[in-house]
């Protein structure tokens, strides 16, 4: 089993410098994990305050301006500091070289620079907290031009974070092209890597557009440029086009890696190959490509023409089909399998169900007539949180539990973790399902005050935050207090490469680069031939 005299990546070098200046992808992945975790907690706390405010219609615990700052902070911190880097920067960095049989990524120093840029962007962003923006994370003009808050600082921070995102994307793409182990053809690449590849394409191609958009917004505020200001002949709707041209692909940056995680977890705990490997791989690419063509569905009532609305609506429905295919493929992976309900599996199953709800409610919003009613209401808030929490965050939690023994060399208490899962699952649905109803009833978003008839639904939603809060604290406690004893290299009997070396992995991953001769999800006995 594991030779304790050999060092692993955690023990190899101690002290601040050995972590801050490391080029080891595993250490960089861990540092990203801790950083995004911290910002997740801060941004989640902001949402906790938002929901507390909504226990009563009028002014509760904060003023109107503070409320506007809170939802801006919650949105922009969650999007730019947690979920966009998210799974890709943390688990992507840790796992991709291990999964493809490489000793590291192709540009290890660039990887470190990406992380430093993330820290720099985060610092600038935090600097803005002196007079935090109150524009909403979407920074719509003209309000974002006029607002007396620190819009320039926060958008500059996001701009720098964009660079971190782009460089990581370039690193992953080139790594997967050049460093796959001998015999690992593209159709033997693990699906998490396929997902990371599609995500990286989006990061590389979409992020520059939000870069120039925010740069121009800074130009509007600082140099008085007139692009987006109607008073100067500019067009505020053009800002929306530029912004959503990035931000729609961005939501697929958020979800694709989580889908990759599900594709890894399902075969292991069903002891069956993933159903429809090619379909999942190609649908990831298809989703990435089509995602560039649907941005206008955020703007159906912005004043754009009817024809443009129709085109965006059609393509939006088109992007739903590859996603539906994936859901069925994951489900059918369980058919006639041997299923173990580990914590990671529970989160994955919950993902499938909750993401289905999130995705289906996206269809409501893609239907033109219905979107006229539901746009900018709580229905959208519920939809986005079902896909981002029910989807990405549940996938992220699945990854935390699944690769836990590999990353740390120890195991956690499954029983406590499962209780935490139940609390988180229940809490999440209690928060957000009522919000669908608030939306159909017409309750607008970003509202500090609300009409008294909405009070009971709001209160129910707030109670959910207390349940999920307890669940989350229990989950963190369980993960931070492992069971004593070594985990061993492969407690789940996975066939994937990252489980083939010691836990935690040695600094250079493989003593000898393996040669791949079999499909990656080679579980099960070959009773039925591949058709």
């Amino acid at each position: 089993m594991s030779d304790t005299s050999e060092t692993n990546y955690l023990d190899n070098g101690k002290g601040f410098a050995s972590w801050f200046y490391t080029v080891d992808h595993k250490r960089i992945g861990v540092m990203y994990l801790i950083a995004i975790g911290i910002f997740f907690i801060i941004a989640a706390f902001a949402s906790f305050l938002i929901r507390w405010e909504h226990l009563t219609p009028g002014e509760g615990i904060v003023s109107a301006h503070t409320y506007n700052v809170l939802f801006t902070l919650h949105g922009s911190m969650m999007v730019f500091l947690f979920i966009v880097p998210g799974v890709a920067a943390s688990f992507g960095n840790f796992l991709i070289p291990l999964m493809i049989g490489a000793k590291d990524v192709i540009f290890p120093k660039l990887n470190l620079y990406s992380f430093w840029l993330y820290l720099l962007g985060a610092s600038i962003f935090l600097f803005a907290l002196a007079a935090p923006a109150d524009t909403g994370w979407t920074f719509y003009t003209p309000y974002s031009i006029d607002s007396g808050t620190n819009v320039i600082m926060i958008t500059l921070g996001v701009f720098v974070l964009g660079f971190s995102s782009i460089l990581t994307g370039i690193n992953f793409i080139v790594t997967m092209h050049k460093l796959r182990a001998p015999g690992m053809t593209w159709d033997r690449l693990p699906l998490f890597c396929w997902a990371a590849y599609a995500t990286s394409l989006l990061q590389v191609l979409a992020t520059p557009v939000v870069g120039i958009t925010l740069l121009l917004l800074i130009g509007e505020r600082y140099f008085g440029l007139g692009f987006f200001d109607p008073a100067k002949g500019g067009d505020p709707v053009m800002f929306q086009h530029f912004f959503w041209f990035y931000s729609h692909p961005a939501v697929y940056i958020m979800i694709l890696p989580a889908m990759g995680i599900i594709s890894e977890v399902m075969p292991v705990f069903s002891r069956k190959p993933i159903f429809g490997y090619k379909a999942i791989a190609y649908s990831s690419l298809a989703i990435a490509l089509i995602s560039f063509l649907v941005w206008g569905h955020h703007m159906f009532v912005s004043g754009q023409s009817k024809l443009v609305n129709i085109i965006f609506s059609v393509i939006t429905f088109a992007v739903a089909v590859p996603t539906a295919i994936k859901v069925f493929n994951w489900l059918w992976t369980m058919y006639k399998g041997s299923i173990e309900l580990s914590t990671a599996m529970l989160y994955s199953l919950a993902f499938i169900f909750l993401f289905t709800i999130g995705g289906l409610t996206g269809l409501f919003l893609g239907a033109l007539a219905v979107d006229v009613h539901l746009h900018d209401t709580y229905f959208v808030v519920a939809h986005m949180h079902y896909v981002m929490i029910g989807g990405t965050v549940f996938g992220f939690f699945a990854a935390l539990h699944f690769w836990y023994p590999k990353m740390w060399g120890v195991m956690f208490d499954e029983f406590k973790a499962k209780i935490a899962f139940v609390l988180i699952f229940i809490g999440f649905n209690v928060i957000f399902f009522p919000q669908f109803i608030l939306g159909t009833l017409g309750m607008p978003r970003r509202y500090f005050n609300y009409a008294p008839e909405f009070e009971s639904l709001h209160q129910l939603s707030t109670y959910g935050t207390w349940i999920i809060g307890i669940g989350f604290i229990l989950m963190m406690y369980t993960l931070l207090k492992p069971i004593p004893g070594e985990a061993g290299p492969n407690p789940y009997k996975s066939l994937s490469l990252e489980w083939s070396m010691d836990s935690p992995p040695p600094p250079l991953n493989f003593d000898k680069i393996p040669t791949i001769t079999e499909p990656v999800y080679n579980y099960g006995t070959k009773i039925e031939k591949e058709s």
Binding site: D134, G303, M334, K336, S531
Partner: protein, 312 residues
């Protein structure tokens, strides 16, 4: 419990039908997927550490099935969404135009007969209406849940909404594009009147008949007007300062103005501020208050003054 507001326009019927369709499809899909999840987990639970499992990786029939069915369902939902939307964007020939202006944080309605109202929109039942809308400052959005209509307002061009109200009543109007500190106070009401009542309103007599203003004390009327006419969006009554001076302890206080002069806030000062707000601008504030000339009569102005007097 009710999950949709009352349906009060022609467009609402189409929206509700498509919404129901999408809901039924979604509920059935969720039940199917939820059932399969639970069923598989129970039926194929791990028994031993070496359960034999078949290496099934494809099934052409199933894969075709679950590609085609979602595609068909998507097409169906799209079509209904498109058809009703298409009807809604076509302006009927006999539509009556009403101009809407959104400005932080008040709605102003200008009718074709020269009438003007604040935050209250009056329309006759079963009459196609076309709103011609523009913003005076940042983006706003006009949203009436009961009609299911919504459209953004912007500063550099006009946008439009067509609707035909089908039910008498008073319905909520919300601003639904975030526009700053008092976004959630940018509220209004749409009054759908019978043809007869609408004719009375157009004359100018309906408002007096309908409202109970004749019966309630002046300061209570002033308190109602404070919310109805949008004063609440900018002027607080608890002393907290914002975009406009608070009304608390306003009456009788001394005010300093940007032109160097000053005055005591008495009845005349308050009336002048309501009708000609930029004449005497209190230092530290901008000239953003709209004039209420033509929108409030003398009795209502007096009521507001009486209400301010009660805010010590």
């Amino acid at each position: 419990m009710n999950w949709l507001p009352t349906s009060a326009s022609t467009f609402a019927e189409g929206v509700d039908f498509t919404l129901w369709l999408a809901t039924i499809i979604s509920v059935i899909s969720c039940i199917l997927i939820g059932f399969l999840l639970i069923y598989f987990v129970i039926k194929y639970k791990r028994k031993t550490d070496n359960d034999p499992t078949p290496a099934i990786t494809h099934d052409s029939f199933l894969e075709t099935l679950w590609t085609i069915i979602p595609t068909i369902l998507c097409i169906v939902i799209f079509i209904y969404g498109y058809v009703y939307y298409d009807q809604y964007t076509v302006t009927p020939k006999n539509a009556v135009e009403i101009n809407v202006t959104g400005k932080r944080w008040i709605w102003t309605f200008d009718y074709s007969n020269g009438k003007k109202t604040l935050n209250d929109l009056y329309v006759p039942i079963n009459q196609p209406i076309r709103l011609v809308m523009q913003s005076d400052d940042v983006l706003h959005s006009f949203f009436v849940p009961a009609f299911r209509v919504k459209q953004d307002l912007m500063g550099n061009r006009y946008t439009y909404i067509n609707f035909t109200a089908t039910k008498e009543g008073v319905y909520d109007l919300y601003c639904t594009e975030y526009c700053g500190a008092s976004h959630s106070n940018m509220l209004g009401k749409v009054h759908v009147l019978s043809k007869a009542e609408y004719a009375l309103w157009e004359d100018g007599s309906a408002k007096k008949v309908k409202s109970a203003s004749a019966d309630i004390p002046l300061d209570k009327l002033g308190e109602q007007l404070y919310t109805k006419n949008g004063c609440v969006a900018c002027h607080s009554i608890d002393g907290s300062d914002g975009i406009a001076p608070s009304w608390k302890a306003l009456f009788g206080a001394k005010r300093a103005f940007t032109d160097g002069t000053s005055a005591v806030a008495d009845e005349n000062y308050i009336k002048e501020s309501i009708l000609y707000p930029t004449e005497k601008l209190v230092t530290g504030y901008g000239p953003i208050m709209p004039s209420y000339k033509g929108l409030l009569d003398d009795k209502e102005i007096t009521a507001i003054i009486e209400y301010i007097k009660t805010l010590k």
